[in-house]
Amino acid sequence: MKHEKEYYEKLGFKCGLEIHQRLLTTEKLFCSCNAINEGKKTGMKVERMQRAVVGETGELDKATGFESMKGRRFIYNVYDISSCLVELDEEPPHKINEEALNISYLIAATFNCNIPDEIEVMRKEVVDGSDPSAFQRTMLIGYGGSLDINGRKINIPSIFLEEESSGIEESNNEKVVYNINRLGIPLVEIDTDPEIKDPSEAKEVAMRIGLLIRLTGKVQRGIGTIRQDVNISIKDGARVEIKGFQDLDSMDEVIENEVERQLKLIEISKELRERHAEVGKAIDATSIFLNTESRIIKNAIKDNGVVFAVKLSGFKGLIGKEINPDRRLGSEISDYVKAVGIGGIIHSDEDLKGYGISEKEIRELSIKLGLEANDGFMLIAGEKEKVEKAMPLAIYRAEYAIKGVPKETRSIDAKKNITKFMRPLPGSSRMYPETDERPILADHELYEKLKKEAPNIDELEKRLNKEIGNRQIVEQLIRSQKLHDYLYISEKIKGEHQLIASILLQKMKELKREGFDVDSIGNDTLICIFKKYMDKKITKQAFEPILKALPKDCKEVERIIEEKGLQRISGSELEKILKEEISKYGNDKGKIIAGVMSRYRFNIDGEEMNKEIDILTK
């Protein structure tokens, strides 16, 4: 971590999480389509347009308005067993899936939530096309819960049960192609209050929540089945939602970079206000560039395209100011116009000659815009229709630079661990009741029963401490993704818990680092190896060569032992070998061991050997 806790406290750092986890049910939430098997494409495609409509409160949501402005076509690939008319918005939803409802109760119980007396199914408007109905069905299942972590209580104000969205297959400025096979798989969303104190705590809380829901055993595992969104703000900054963390390892770094970005934007806004900065009106500057040498502009205007320019009074030097590695205020503005299919903006803090823009063109533009010493400008070039859509967005973003940090939903650039603008932050006006479903009376009796079945970390920790007898390993195990493998294996093996934990946590990690794909070894194969050890067929040292050979099943384990000669030597056979060595080295234990181990490193158990030597040399 770059900074200490106190640093974030001073910044007024606030952070909350939203964890999305797919449930393990046979059917989808509101229809009987297969929720486990992905199914096959039927070849049928359905094309739709969507538009933002005024919500329940009469307000058009900023975020939904933004998406609908893009005017893209949405195309949905239809699937055989995993989609039906319900996903296509061609049939009303069926009755809610009871299995999913019960799992969501169990998860609510895991986080000590209360459940409502009546659950109201809502429609959350989504106009990015990810749902053919233009909304996602969602409902509040639990409230007022909490989570204890490192002696701190993190509040879980709400848990929702909702539908998974479609997966994107292809996306460009004209259309987005979605696969609707995963649409409607039940999902829970778990929210924390914004009381997380620093980036590393965010990561820890995310891991703990993930662990607890997996411990229920009723959730899907694997890539894409869990997603984390992070809400962050700092004093004088703004709330930003970062969407779609899949890799928890980089979560803290992404958050650190987002804080850095906001700090820089605050600095820029202060400076702009001191300079009484202003954003001008867009003017058509195409005539200046009719004979331009700039390839980028030439290309943009070749088919009756246009170049629009805006004066940025007092912005000089600040549009190009770095706010994140390789990112500037200019890049933020560019991200806004990309939404309507424009490649980006060109601004005055850039190397304009590098773009092939001539001195003369710059001079003419300066005159046309009436630029003074501290002023800058931005240009947008391209098809007239697109530029006309893009310009108001660029102006909006530039004006916001004077105010401070805009509220946004941002995505993650996984290569650089930074965030990028996706769309404005949605407000609450995009929710309205799902009138095709009846309100659901909550089953309080069942809920009380489930509370007793809910996984409990403290009890698990106690149990593990007893089993493994090593606090450090237990702590490591609880934070590790390997915990589930441990629980699965130790249930079948009954004993040698510390060995299981250390093989999973240390040996496997070490081998993975060396380039062996040991994660491909299934738990049942691991169980087979542990059994061989407990039956005294192999030694601890034999684990490494067996694992390195990546066995697929128990038969392969046996074959590897055979081929590599890894069978354990003990009893009279061991005695015979030791006697030979003793006859050579007398009572020199060190030499005896070295002699034996040089030949039988994988085959002899150290402990047994020590005992035997002691007896034989007495």
Binding site: E47, Q50, E56, T64, L85, S133, S158, S428
Partner: protein, 441 residues
């Protein structure tokens, strides 16, 4: 309505649904907007819209307290002012109700109809670039609640609208739209302009609604096409790409929920209309004639006609029932080529005598087929000949619902003998002479 106990408490605190409130109960403190109680479910449960947008239901129990934080703010309704554009054609838009102009009803938890079509127009700004719209918010009647009285009103409204406009769009609930389209096809005698009926299968309060495109395509059709017929214009497929215009007397709702529910039966669509407004004509139709023809309204209607289905074990006494109630005609939806049971082992199941008796008593009995596709025939089998000889009229390839509407229309405007003669004669495209090979599913 909430339970008496809650209503009393609300009254005491001067709280109305829509107000911002705080509920303090054993379960905790809940701040948000009080929602009206959905009619379904437990009325002792308060529904509150929380700040995060979610609704939550919390039981109002002993010791619960409810406080008002803020009265609801009154929204100013959205209005649009329409400027007349000389370069655009004028069309009428008659609003009759249905999903196409509906919003959520928080009381019933269902969708309710808008009485202000301006709201719908504000949602579809595209219409402004297509035509000058002469709006007539005629009625707000659910499709299933339509009767011949509404058909008559709509027919009159169309005639009125056509005095000033080149075409008319009618929004209508989808369930019985094809009955209304048939009725209008008969009532608007000598029609010389496009009359386009449209609706939606997804209410317009959702972003995925088909209402927008259906309305846009219908407006294009009414303002540009030379079709002088009543047509239904709705989605051609599940996609938002094309709508099809289907002859009003050959259209049928064939799916409970899909966008492309309306299909032509024993016919082809007249045209397909793209979202952008291009019209491709796909079969023959009656064209608008340049010489002004006089539109004659024939809005008489005889409601004492019935549509009856014949099926195995069906009781033919249903005919006697209608006869005893003074009915003037019955359309029978027969099986296959137009059968009813006639030579049953148990004579109680035979319809033959009952049909004979009805015809002798002065009723008109028409025969159609529940196959929907294809033409009935009075000759192929002996049983068909028996029924035909009893006086039943075989209605060619006319849809049962259309024959039913037509019979009421005929009896309402013509003498019985004439009505009898016209029943299986084509008046408005409801009967074709040839069954083309590509007219089937």
């Amino acid at each position: 309505m909430y339970s008496e106990e809650i209503e009393k408490e609300l009254k005491k605190q001067n709280i109305e649904p829509g107000d911002e409130i705080k509920l303090i109960s054993k379960k905790g403190e809940f701040k948000g907007t009080l929602m009206p109680r959905p009619e379904l479910g437990d009325n002792s449960i308060l529904v509150i819209k929380l700040e995060n947008g979610y609704n939550i239901g919390i039981k109002f129990e002993k010791g619960s307290k409810i406080e008002k934080i803020k009265s609801k703010s009154i929204e100013s309704p959205k209005t649009i002012s329409i400027k007349h554009k000389k370069e655009l054609p004028d069309i009428g838009l008659i609003y009759t109700g249905g999903t196409i102009g509906s919003k959520i009803d928080y009381k019933s938890g269902g969708v309710f109809m808008l009485t202000k079509p301006e709201e719908l127009l504000a949602e579809v700004p595209e219409l402004e670039g297509i035509a000058n719209i002469d709006l007539n918010p005629l009625m707000s009647v659910a499709s299933e609640d339509m009767t011949f009285v509404e058909w008559q009103k709509i027919a009159k409204a169309v005639a009125d609208a056509l005095k000033k406009n080149r075409g008319v769009v009618i929004t209508h609930g989808t369930d019985t739209m094809h009955y209304t389209s048939a009725a209008l096809s008969f009532m608007l005698n000598g029609l010389n302009a496009p009359v386009v009926m449209t609706g939606s299968q997804r209410s317009s309060d959702r972003g995925s609604s088909d209402a927008f495109m259906n309305l846009i395509c219908s407006a294009h059709l009414a303002s540009k096409s030379d079709i002088a017929e009543v047509v239904i214009c709705m989605h051609e497929s599940s996609s938002d790409t094309y709508c099809s215009a289907i002859r009003g007397t050959k259209a049928r709702k064939m799916h409970t929920s899909r966008r492309d529910a309306f299909k032509p039966i024993n016919n082809k669509p007249i045209a397909r209309i793209s979202r952008e407004g291009s019209i491709e004509y796909t079969s023959n139709y009656r064209k608008v004639e340049s010489e002004k023809k006089e539109l004659k309204l024939l809005i008489g209607y005889e409601p004492k006609v019935a549509l009856v289905k014949a099926y195995p074990n069906s009781d033919p006494l249903i005919i006697d029932y209608y006869l005893s109630k003074g009915y003037k005609g019955i359309i029978i939806e027969g099986t296959g080529l137009g059968h009813t049971p006639v030579s049953t082992q148990n004579p109680d199941y035979s319809w033959l005598k009952r049909v004979e008796n009805a015809v002798d008593s002065g009723m008109i009995i028409g025969i159609t087929s529940q196959c929907l596709y294809g033409r009935v025939n009075p000759n192929v089998y002996r049983n068909l000949r028996l029924l035909s000889n009893a006086g039943a009229i075989y209605c060619e390839d006319m849809l049962p619902e259309v024959a039913y509407v037509k019979l009421g229309f005929l009896l309402g405007n013509y003498k019985k003998e004439e009505a009898e003669k016209l029943l299986n004669v084509n008046l408005a495209g409801e009967i074709t002479e040839r069954s083309e090979a590509d007219w089937f599913i």
